[in-house]
Symmetry: C2
Subunit: 344 residues, 2 copies
Amino acid sequence: MGILSARQIKVLQAVIVVYIHSGEPVGSRTLSRSSAFQLSPATLRNVMADLEDEGFLCQPHTSAGRIPTDQGFRFYVNNLAGMAAVSPAARLHVREHLEVVGGRLEEVLHDGVLTLAQLTPYVGVVSMPDFRQMIIRHIRFVKLHERRILAVVVSVSGAVQNVLFDSDTNFSQDQLNHSSNYLNALLGDLTLSGIKRKVLQEMASDKRGYDELFKQVLALSKSFFAKDPEQQSDVMLDGKLNLLEHPEFADVERMKNIFRAFEEKGSILKILDGALGGEQLRVIIGSESCCEDMRHCSLVTAEYGRVDRTLGQIGVIGPTRMDYSRIIPLVNYIADAMSRRLQN
Amino acid sequence: MGILSARQIKVLQAVIVVYIHSGEPVGSRTLSRSSAFQLSPATLRNVMADLEDEGFLCQPHTSAGRIPTDQGFRFYVNNLAGMAAVSPAARLHVREHLEVVGGRLEEVLHDGVLTLAQLTPYVGVVSMPDFRQMIIRHIRFVKLHERRILAVVVSVSGAVQNVLFDSDTNFSQDQLNHSSNYLNALLGDLTLSGIKRKVLQEMASDKRGYDELFKQVLALSKSFFAKDPEQQSDVMLDGKLNLLEHPEFADVERMKNIFRAFEEKGSILKILDGALGGEQLRVIIGSESCCEDMRHCSLVTAEYGRVDRTLGQIGVIGPTRMDYSRIIPLVNYIADAMSRRLQN
DNA sequence: CGCTGGCACTCAAACTAAAAGAGTGCTAAC
DNA sequence: GTTAGCACTCTTTTAGTTTGAGTGCCAGCG
């Protein structure tokens, strides 16, 4: 037990390949006919029964064909799935729609999921970078009304976040400008919390002699950073309708579950960033996501970002019966394209 | 024909009320028993047959009860539906979740749809104001990188829009600040296009003598306003899952259609803003929306905004079999609460 | 010992038939 | 104008039957 014979592997692979394309339980007869097996249905039955004992296959009910279990798919993805090259059509599509110039971070991400939703029959998904972990290029304060201030924070990767807060004192826009300048001069390759720490340090070391400007910056920073936990970390989805085309989601109850998971994006985010800092590409199959509502879905995701720093995950959500050998390279390809675009 | 007798109206109303609560076709027997009618089923049958001839009722098939047509619902909403008072529970919920202080426009709108999605079994929907029609309070330019500039535009109602653009010349942040100040001094109760026009006018009248600063502003404005059509006008939806609970959407095909309409928000926006400038409250029943995918849905929407200016529509989308007498006052109530919150 | 053919068995899906139930339209009588 | 009665229609439900795909197991063969 545990280790599979060469023949078992070959049968397992055949079952999975057929199942991925047909969506129906596959029986011994089908297998014996279609594939290049020289074995009789009876023999295949024996092999399949063994594979079932090992947990790679299962039957929806007695006397139906076998379908792969999550464990079966896992073995397939890890060991058997040959990776198809990204089709020329897909490359062209990416070149035209994704590999364009610039744009805000949000737009780039949107282009990414949109492309995935168009090139696959699944749902495109991307986790938006945690703003708190992004390196800040600019902070600028805009006086709105009395003590109400809008901080515009721009990261190196082009993400823009607006933070609304109230300051204790009533600064003029000129004062805010000066403070902005001061703060921007200070920051170099730091995240928001890094900046916060640095400002506090400068204050502690009080080598600045507490000049007027510095006091302003301090007061402002205090109010501003109090608001910091304004966390926009989020996921973006596109192509939810694609799922409706798959027979496995004709069941209304199952559909509801998945759409529920989509609506409260927190659970998806948890799955996406769950094993953060792991491999560059991840495949999460069915119950591996530990999310009950997503038990019948798989995720294929890849990291995207700049060379030095991962920003988030982009990929697709589809039924466990997913065309992994086509999707995995595609997700990789698109993550790469996005990363390149973010690089400038 | 055309005009309905008192008895016909009474029957029509009874059919609709029963249907709204049961969701099943209602037959003459049910009606004769339940309601305060002193009429026999046979008589009711005659009346109902007449109502069907007039187009207010229809049968899913021979020998089923009658269900109201869109026209029937229309008559009900216009003439028969007694408006229920907003329940204390709903009032409390609104007070706690919607009638809070401040926040960006986007947050306010989000609170609005969320509240609707929680207080009704339908989908909350709000059309975001067309930024181009909003009165601008602030424009501020932030230098990002070389000639790449981020304009932060803030409206009086608290909407913030970031516009990314490239200027022809490489301004310093100080120059941008001065230009911002200049521009902000100029604008008073104007929309973006109003400002554009004004700047052009000032240029034409060249009474400024073409000083250095003004030239800057001009150059900047030219690049900035070139980007103007960056239209974010959009709709926000919440509570899509609610719809799945309704028996009328157990049919997968029908569900798909509606979710398709949700995904491409343009069509919804068209419906919402279609009869813009009309009544304060609108009810759109079934095919009246002229959107094939939404044929089985009704919308109840109300205008929201500041006293002097309508910003958009907020309301719900649900099955045509909607509890209008509860929903209409509720939507009104929530639109009011939102408008009040936006007022400050 | 591995493979195969044969056979009995199981189970879901498809089909058929019959019955039940709800409701209608129509007509004749009140 | 209203009603009771009746024949008719059509859906829904139930049950029973058949079909077909597939399995498990056993005995025999190389």
